[in-house]
Structures are given as C-alpha cells and as structure tokens.
C-alpha cells in the first residue's frame, strides 16, 4: 500500500540573481513499512526534499499525497493536526533542540500538543518513550545540551515517534555521529520500524548507511532523481553517473570494500 506519493515536485531558489534548482520533477513513492533511502552529494537537493515534504517550505509545483490526502492543500490547524503522522529527525544533534529545554520537555512537547495521552500520564509516557529508545527514564530531568551526540539523537527519535507517525523523515540523522554510535542508532531505527510498522525516508550522503537500512534507494543529482531501484541492485550496478560516483566513493572508504559483491539480501542489514 502506498503511504506517500510525490509527483513532479519542484522548488527553485533565487540566490544573488541566479535561479538555482533545488528539486526538479521529483517523483517517487513510499509503501507502508518501507524505507526509501535518498542518496546524493552535498547540494543535490536532499534536504530541500525533506523540508518540502514536511511543509517547512512550499514547493513551486507538484503534488504530494500522504495517507490518501492531498498533503499540500492542508493549512493552519488541519495541517498542524496531521503533522503528528509525519515526523522528522534532524542532522544537527544540538541545533534541533530548544537551547535550554530538558529531555522531558522536548519529548513532552508533541505529547502535549497532540494530547496523545491524558495529562496525568504524561510523565509515564515520557519514561516509556525514553526506554523505547534505550535511555533510562532518569534522563527526563536533564538538559539536552548535557547529553552526548548519540543520546541526543535518541531523544530526537523519541520525540519523532511520540505521536506514532506513519512516516519519519531522517535528514542525515546519523551523519554527525561516530561509527559505533551510528551503528547502534541504526539498529534502534530498524528495530523501531519493525515494531511500529513505520515508513522511513532516510536521507544520507553515505551509501554505507543507506545500504544498512533501506529497502529501496533513490539517487539525487542536481535536484533530480536520476535513479531508483532496490538497494542491492543500485549498489551492485548503478546505472547513472551520480550513482556510480557515490558507489565508487563508498567502496573506497569501506574496509574490505572490494568484496561488496557478497551482498545478496534485500532485507536491510545493519552490519556496515
């Protein structure tokens, strides 16, 4: 079943008098419970895509259908209510949090805004979510800036899943973390997806990360989606120039990269 479908999405910027194409004619879809990875070099329009999907900026043209609704026609209060269904995890492990907020306040915000549980049970719900992402419930009283990068990203995930969304957009969500922490966060994401039956749109410049989590891949280059397909197909035989460049760059960085032809599963793995 298709959860999200995007048709001919387009967004341009005018910067110092020049027209810059950020996203051009993007068409793709995500099925329920599926992870679509979007790969691309810096400036290929990946982050703009995330912002367009979440309504953080309006597109110039195109259509987004999410959970059967015309997503772009939603405004004001209706949009705010429906936002509980699509959430986001940001790249910046500190900038994405209110500078002085505690962990409890951060996770409590979506619960309070959408009244997912009655007020007296809020504290219990925050504790449940913290445990869900592998943090102890004592974290609730601590300021977010005191936490490590990995812990902060766990808090960001807890905030994103608090409203039980059907789609979570992860914009370079593990790019700022070191490899070991990154792997544990990826494991957590895959496990949460299995249990909650959420879909992910996983944006990254790192094919190694995307290979670990995505069922399908889309390669972006200069604002256009140049290639889509099953993750293993694209990694083994990229068709587009941008895809080949990304795969080549990843192989060079991956230990034992020459043996990548041992990948055969379509089920996501998280051993990178």
């Amino acid at each position: 079943m298709t959860l999200l479908s995007v048709e001919n999405l387009r967004r341009r910027y005018v910067s110092t008098g020049r027209d810059i194409v950020a996203v051009e004619n993007a068409t793709f879809s995500i099925a329920a419970g599926e992870t679509l990875g979007i790969a691309g070099a810096s400036g290929s329009g990946k982050s703009t895509m995330a912002r367009l999907l979440l309504g953080l900026m309006p597109p110039d043209a195109g259509k987004i259908t999410f959970e059967g609704q015309d997503w772009l026609s939603l405004k004001g209060k209706d949009l705010r209510r429906q936002r509980s269904r699509m959430q986001m995890v940001f790249q910046d492990v500190l900038g994405a949090f209110h500078p002085t907020a505690t962990v409890g306040e951060t996770i409590g915000d979506p619960i309070r805004v959408h009244r997912t549980v009655p007020k007296p049970q809020r504290t219990r719900e925050i504790a449940r979510l913290l445990e869900r992402v592998g943090l102890s419930s004592d974290f609730a009283g601590r300021p977010v800036y005191e936490l490590s990068g990995g812990q902060r990203q766990r808090v960001a995930i807890a905030r994103a899943i608090a409203t039980r969304p059907s789609l979570v957009v992860l914009d370079e969500a593990v790019s700022a973390l070191d490899v070991q922490v990154r792997n544990r966060i990826l494991e957590l994401l895959v496990e949460l997806q299995r249990e909650e039956n959420m879909s992910y749109l996983f944006i990254s410049h790192d094919l190694a990360v995307l290979r670990a989590v995505s069922h399908r891949l889309a390669i972006m280059d200069a604002g256009r989606i140049v290639e889509t397909g099953h993750t293993s197909d694209i990694i083994e035989q990229p068709q587009s120039a941008a895809g080949r460049a990304l795969v080549a760059a990843t192989l060079r960085l991956m230990p034992g990269g020459r043996q990548t032809n041992t990948i055969q599963q379509s089920e996501p793995t998280y051993d990178i």
Binding site: L54, L56, L79, R80, R83, A96, H98, P110, V113
Partner: protein
C-alpha cells in the same frame, strides 16, 4: 551564574554597579536620610554650600534644601529612566517579534512605522507628546518610550529573523506546535539577551531626556527633578552657579554609571567563557 562572574571581572561593570547601587540606595532611602517634602522651605535663600551643617549643599532661591532635592531627584530620574526604558523595550520586543516572525506584508508595514519613528528625533517627539497630553510622570514615561522603542524593535526583528531559520524552530513546527507558542516560547527568550545589552543605553538616554524635558518646564511639576533644579539655578547662574552644577554633576554621575554598567554587560556577554588571562598556563609558571 557565569554571566555575573564575567560581569564582575570587567572594570566597567564593577564601577558601574557600584555607582548604580549607591544611587539606588540613596533613592530608596530618600524619606529616611532627607525626610520631609524636598520642595518645602528649609532655611534662608541662596545659602552657599558647606556654610550651614544642616544644609550641606546650601539652598536655592526659595530657600529649599539642595541636597534633599538631589536625593529626591534621584528617585524621579531613576524611576522615569527605568520605566521608560522598560516600556520602550517591551514595545520594541513585541513589534520586533511580530514583524520578524510573521514576515511578508506585516513585516513591511511594521518596519515602515519603525522607520517613521526613527526619523523623527526622539526628543522632539517627547516634547510634542508632553505638551499635548500635559506634564505628569506617566505621560513623561510614555513620551520618552515613544521615541526609544524603534531601536530595540529593529534589533529584535534581526534576532528573530535569524532564530526563525534554526533547526529547533523547524522541529517545533514539525511537531505541530501553534505559531504563537513557537514565537513566545522558542524564539522570544533567545532574542532577549542582545536587546538587554542595549537596554542600559536606553535607560541613560531616557534619564537625559527626562532632565531635558524638566529643564524646559515640561516635567511633572509636583516632583523634584534634576532637570528642573538646573533650570531653576539658571536664573542665578552667575551669583550661585552651584545650584545648576550640583544637579548637573548628579546627572553626569548617573548616566556614567548606567553607561559603564551597560559596557560591562556587553563585554560579559560577548566575551567567551574561558578568557582568564591571569591564570598561568601549565609549564609557564616561573
């Protein structure tokens, strides 16, 4: 708190806070150290300073105690200065927040209003306002605030414009938080500190404007102010110059204190946390 520690370390801050503490103490304890109405006749007219132990700074043309006037005048000056600055900052924060957060046509309209207020000299505006509304403390406070809110509004707007693009604001929007809550809880608190840094300058300017209004006879006639004292002394400037010099000095010291306080605050806020030059580094100790 770290900010206070850093503030204490700046020489400007220390001197400023000492001057202000003395002035505030004087102003608060005026009824105790200089009891009675400062406008009443206390002795013979035009007594020179230091000639009578009970009237240390002498008397004016009507025989009113100059020292008592200065102490009570500190109340008016500080009260009007602080209240006007508070009002100006409150209005500026609100307008700047709305302009920066809403953007578009709202921003355009509000900023043109700000332009209009910035073009008209604040003092002329205050003068016109008081002459129309009549002189009383609340009117004087309003008049001064009217000419001072534009700068904090501009500053707040610039802050809000940059804060609005931060990820944590985007995160709040993604959650579905109502815009008013985002503006008030997520943006406003972060926009306030730089505005507070200029607040002391606004207080100093407000104190001077109040003195100038009183000097022109547009202050509250029922309270003693330094401006009205200087104005009174002007008539006998050649024979008894101290009548204008004493309140003038009080004014200079107050404005200086506020400015130094503001300098110290700005330094403390812009200086990075770990600039302790006096601490010896490892291996560098003799």
């Amino acid at each position: 708190m770290k900010l206070i520690q850093k503030f204490i370390k700046t020489p400007e801050g220390i001197v400023g806070i000492i001057i202000l503490s003395i002035l505030i103490t004087l102003a608060l304890s005026a009824p105790i150290i200089a009891p009675g109405d400062p406008l009443r006749i206390a002795g013979r007219a035009l007594a020179a300073p230091f000639s009578d132990p009970s009237l240390p700074l002498g008397t004016d043309r009507l025989g009113r105690d100059v020292l008592s006037g200065i102490i009570h005048g500190a109340r008016t000056s500080l009260l009007v200065g602080a209240a006007a600055a508070l009002a100006a900052i409150a209005i500026g924060l609100m307008i700047g927040l709305v302009a920066g957060f809403c953007g578009g046509i709202v921003d355009e309209v509000l900023m043109r209003v700000v332009d209009a207020f910035q073009i008209v000299p604040g003092f002329l505006l205050a003068l016109a306002f008081v002459s129309v509304m009549g002189a009383s403390l609340p009117v004087v406070v309003m008049a001064i605030a009217l000419g001072a809110w534009a700068d904090p509004a501009r500053l707040t707007r610039a802050q809000v414009l940059s804060l609005r693009e931060r990820d944590y604001v985007a995160a709040a929007r993604v959650i579905g938080m109502p815009p008013v809550e985002i503006a008030v809880k997520h943006i406003l608190p972060q926009a306030v500190p730089p505005v507070l840094a200029v607040s002391a300058t606004i207080v100093a300017a407000a104190i001077l404007t109040e003195a100038a209004l009183s000097f022109l006879g547009l202050g509250d006639p029922n309270s003693v102010t330094w401006g009205s004292m200087i104005s009174e002394g002007r008539n006998v400037l050649r024979s008894s110059p101290w009548l204008s010099i004493m309140p003038g000095l009080a004014l200079i010291v107050t404005v200086l204190g506020v400015y130094l306080f503001s300098e110290g605050l700005t330094k403390a806020m812009t200086r990075p946390a770990s600039t302790d030059r006096s601490a010896p580094r490892d291996g560098m100790t003799p």
